[in-house]
Amino acid sequence: MARSLFRLGLVLCLSATSCAEPQPPPVGSRRPRRPRPRPVVVQPARPAPTSAVPMPAGPIAAPAQWPAGYHTFTQLSAALHELADGAADATKFESIATTAGGRELWTLQIAAPGDIPPENRQAILIVGGSDADHPAGSVIAVNVARLLVEALATEPDGEVAALLARRTVYVVPRLNPDGIESFFETIKRGARENAKPIDNDRDGVVNEDGPNDLNGDSRITVMRVRDPDGPWMVDPDEPRLMKKADRAKGERGVYKLMTEGLDDDGDGQINEDGPGGVDVDRNWPHLFESGVKEAGIHQLSEPETRALADFILARPNIVAAIVYGRHDNIVKVPKGKQRGPAGRAYRDLHPDDVKLYEHLSKKYRKTTGLEESPGGEADGAFYSWSYAQRGILTLATSPWWPLEKEEKKKPTTQPASGPAGEDPDEPKSDEDAVPDDAPSVDSEEQRPPDRDEIRARFQERFGNRQPTQEEARAFFRSMSGGTAQVRVQRGGGPAGASQRGRGGRGGRGGQRQRGRPGAPGDAGAPSDKPDKDPLAGHVEASKVNKRWLKYSDEKREGSGFVEWTEFDHPTLGKVEIGGFAPYFKTTPPADKIDPIAEKQVAFLVELSELFAAPRFAKPEVKDVGGGVWRIKLGLTNDGYLPTHPAIARHLRMPGFAVRPQVEADRLIGGRPQVSAANLEGSGGSVSWQWLIRGQAGESVEFRAFNRVYGEIKTSVVLRETPPGGEGE
């Protein structure tokens, strides 16, 4: 009895807002921001900045012991602590999750103290270390954070300080701390996964057959194994590299490729269940590769990814994101094209955002000097999710590219190493793939027609005749390109599936076959690319690999390539071990990090100046008699970026809700609430009219609300304005 009374009390308590723990906001209350999950605050709570002075009073000390080069997790944590402590009123340092390996997922908020609280300023999110085989991305993110904080002290009147006075920068310096820690292990694997134990081969034993350093060089590279059925041969021009034999030309393959290692568990497979884990940059909901072990059991299954998703969802003020890692969409802007089983999701960019990205790309290339990129793979990647499902302008970049630009030669003078008809300038391996590996289809053609277009084409096709149901169905099917595309992909065959199936491959980064998943439930995961050897990136004689080899020979004393050496393998007999060294293509020498970070900061400044700046335009007021005033009022955008890029509109992100703050009976004409889906950049505007009753000289307040830009207010005085409006 007592128990049930207690229960009753508990339930009553839960339904009452006064004592419930997760308090729902009172109905009708204005709550401009989502409820925020309370992350673990590692630092002792600091007093909230209350001063209106834009700059901190005292100088901010730079950390005394900033570790040079690449930081282990311990070094990273200490450095971030110190950085945040040294600028306590401009930073907020907290962990939002703990990984399977027991490491904290750090976030650092940087914003100079000011009138507008950081959560109400437009913000840039910087994410590094999502790709564990790309530790440079994490180190660059950390150094960008350091340069930003330091600039507050060293150049209080500089442009960085100006940026931080108006904007907020959130830095997530190491999204995959477990994976990056393997960079510091004695044996370098180039692993991408976090530390969650995964039974890749589903034999009930976890991580029992990873790669092994057979030749004792502390690097996991490639074994080439003599095999009369093998597809590979030594490249005649560059004997260190391999090429696929072209049987049409009478060439014979004599090698197959495997990751360096043993069959540790004696199941007949080599390296099929290595250490870890889930690749946190394949765990995101956009184009998630369902059924691929390394992508995770489901979308955002990992503490790292779920915590970052919640972090972003709780901060609608984030308007742009920069991701340092293995992907790029800004040096080389992808074509906008449609894809996705449901037929409406864009694979990379919304076609109407391509121009915007091209403009940003120009600025980015100019500021950073980058002209080439390794491309991007949208499947399950963070950068593609934050753009395609959150509508955040996300720039992914691989900010180090040491290869010197080569003169473009005529294709005919080049020995064709690929299948006939292929452009020899096109990289051959996955790793080398440039973003537009898609057929060069005009983006217009790929874009799904909008409603008006469909109407027009319908008219064109059937005139005024009523089409039969069959005809109509066929017509609409032809309009939704996605469905048709999916059909084609179904034929792709499960070839890719067996390649990726057992996953594992010893956590070998950089060269895993990224099959494009077809529709979920289709046989395997059909690939729309020809099947590629997942290890090709390490040894294939592609044009770009030859350039990397040249760079290794000329600039890095050959350290980037492990020369082939013989090894007596216990189960395979004589094999040769060699290939590009792990991390070589992703990891700049330590002394290159700072200059890269400086350029990135310069670009951040440029980018932040392009942000949308929505405001109320000047009203037009006219006395129409009878104590009634006609008010014409609009919103306009003084910034360069639109308030809602095409992708945000496509996602139906809420626009601005605008309301005159008058009692219903004073509103004679016009709607009590209007909305604007977007304000284009550089002065784009939307305006409305109202008839409002009131005394001359009286003020009427108008409020606009948007979840990203917050609340904007203006007061309109009921007094006739001169004709012409905002013409200045």
């Binding site: 709550r31 589903r202 609300f705």
Partner: protein, 587 residues
């Protein structure tokens, strides 16, 4: 009954003898009734629906009454802090729950689709009271376990019972959501203007209105037909009972919640603009997330059932046209559901996308597509069941049902009300306890028939036996060993979809012995003419990537060298693991 007979028959000795002869008949009938009306330790009526608090209390009572087979855990909290309750039913003496194939059953993911919870309660109630009494069920309970989540959306259930609502308001969970993008959360819900506890329809007399009362029944509104002459009032329908709470010119546009928990699961999840109500990402809600973790931690779940309302359907995936299931799985679905159509009169077996509508990210889509669990969704109660005939009852017939069967209790006739904005209007319409839920007297039948369907489903979960082990000497110390592995039920130990998605550990058959060396191992298509298909590596452990198919068997063979005992062991996450031992000696 017996005492009445006793009195009626009087005390005549002759009659007593005759009575004794009769008694034989009567006693057996009476005993027969007791046989299938075994009392439960928990008195529970199944002619009513239970609210959130009552469901919690019933579950706790059931566990207190049957602790040896039933346990309860709180696997999470809902958005508003209610308990996410999960129950495990397992006969412990026959093994731990996760050593047996399991049926997972949930209900009430949509706040207003309430009666599935009663089916779950009935299932628990009936099973617990039947163990050791009903042979069929005892046998089943000895070899399978059950997981129940009676309320996937406890906030929705509490809201539907406690607040003024219609049969259809509302599906959503109750996390405050800004549906109209104005920065306000749940600020313009429907309002029970006259305080009668119902959300009704509003109509207003209007000389230009396009609706009128039907000539058949004044409570039915029909479109004004220009051909019909006559003297009738015209009306404009004003939607659900409510006002423009936030003064934005729209009525009832931002009610409680505003999303669909049954679109928040990972399989084929799509963002909001493609699949309305899907949430920020898969498992973004505490309700779905806690259940997701619960299910992923139990790879022994081989079958799943979700209860919804309404329409009288047994639904299976896929939820979208472009998803296909392997033929070997659809044959299993067909067999179980066709039996279901017989057990559940007026229910139809349909595929979600083709028979109902396209669903991205539904519960059973996830369990069947990503996890390869044979899963059904039943839509409880059909419009055909008002009069138990193959045609749905019309609105007029439903009103008659309300009048003559339920004595007018489920409909509110038009009544006048002074609306703050629309002025003189009328309110009327169905009460919430109708339309989507059966009348009280039909609840028990619904519970029992659906329970019977899930028991059939449960009984199709894999049951593996190793039979006909055969040892033949090949000379010296070398032996040929053969074993047949039978799956005596319809669901394979690894479904086609689980194999395709590579979900869960793989099944295997392993031979071992203290002094035994395995030379070769593999399978045979038959014992007479088929060649020995042997594996290249590790012949002692034969991996079955596609498991043991349902209603069939597979022959395994090893060539071993050695002596003494040999043991063959079968292992699968979704079947009780079995082994057989024999001596290596000529038969």
């Amino acid at each position: 009954m017996l005492s009445i007979l006793n009195n009626a028959l009087g005390s005549s000795a002759a009659l007593r003898i005759a009575f004794a002869a009769l008694m034989g008949v009567f006693t057996s009938v009476a005993a027969g009734q007791v046989d299938y009306q075994h009392p439960s330790k928990v008195q529970l009526a199944f002619n009513k629906l239970y609210n959130y608090d009552e469901v919690i209390r019933i579950c706790e009572q059931m566990v207190a009454a049957y602790p040896e087979m039933l346990s309860l855990e709180t696997i999470g909290q809902s958005s508003e802090g209610r308990k996410m309750l999960a129950l495990t039913l397992n006969i412990q003496k026959t093994g731990p729950h996760d050593s047996k194939p399991a049926l997972y059953i949930d209900a009430n993911i949509h706040g207003n689709e309430v009666q599935g919870t009663e089916v779950v309660l009935y299932t628990i109630w009936y099973l617990t009271k039947s163990y050791g009494k009903v042979e069929h069920l005892t046998r089943l309970m000895d070899r399978v376990s059950f997981y129940f989540v009676p309320m996937v959306n406890p906030d929705g259930r509490a809201y539907w019972f406690d607040q003024p609502n219609t049969a259809s308001s509302s599906r959503s969970g109750k996390k405050p959501t800004d549906n109209d993008g104005d920065g306000l959360y749940d600020e313009d819900p429907p309002n029970d203007l006259d305080g009668d506890g119902y959300i009704l329809r509003m109509r207003r007399e209007d000389p230009n209105g396009n609706m009128r009362e039907s000539a058949e029944d004044y409570r039915l509104m029909v479109r004004v037909d220009r051909q019909t002459k006559g003297d009738f009032k015209r009306y404009t329908m004003l939607g659900s009972e409510g006002i423009d709470d936030d003064g934005d010119g729209r009525v009832n546009e931002d009610g409680p919640g505003g999303y669909d928990l049954n679109r928040n699961w990972p399989a084929d999840w799509q963002p909001n603009y493609i699949q309305r109500g899907s949430g920020d990402y898969p498992f973004s809600h505490p309700e779905t997330h806690s259940i997701g973790k619960f299910i992923l931690a139990r790879p022994n779940i081989a079958a799943a059932q979700s209860y919804h309302n309404s329409g009288g359907m047994i639904l299976r995936g896929p939820g979208a046209e472009y998803v296909t299931y392997p033929g070997r799985d659809t044959r299993v679905y067909d067999k179980i559901a066709k039996r279901g159509e017989k057990l559940l009169p007026f229910y139809r077996y349909l595929v979600i996308w083709s028979g109902l509508y396209t669903v991205h990210g539904g519960t059973v889509n996830w369990t069947s597509e990503d996890l390869g669990i044979i899963s059904f969704t039943n839509e409880l109660w059909s419009g055909k069941q008002y009069y138990n005939r193959d045609e749905r009852a019309s609105q007029k017939e439903r009103l008659e049902f309300s009048d003559f069967v339920l004595f007018g209790q489920t409909y509110v006739p038009w009544k006048k009300f002074n609306h703050p904005v629309y002025g003189e209007i009328e309110l009327g319409g169905w009460r919430k306890m109708t339309g989507r839920v059966p009348p009280a007297f039909a609840i028990e039948e619904m519970c029992h028939r659906n329970f019977a369907f899930t028991m059939y489903h449960a009984d199709q979960m894999p049951l593996v036996e190793l039979r006909d082990s055969e040892v033949k000497s090949l000379g010296g110390n070398v032996w040929r060993v053969r074993v047949d592995a039978h799956n005596l039920r319809t669901i394979p130990t690894t479904t086609g979809q689980a194999a395709k998605r590579k979900y869960g550990p793989r099944d295997f058959l392993e031979i071992s012995g203290p002094s035994l060396e395995v030379v070769a191992g593999g399978t045979l298509a038959n014992r007479f003419t088929a060649p020995f298909e042997f594996v290249e590596q590790n012949p002692h452990k034969l991996w079955l990537d596609t498991g043991l198919r349902g209603d069939g068997h597979q022959i395994f063979q090893w060539i071993v060298e050695g002596s003494g005992q040999a043991t063959v062991r079968f292992s699968s996450a979704r079947a009780i693991n079995v082994s057989t031992a024999f001596a290596l000696r000529p038969e």
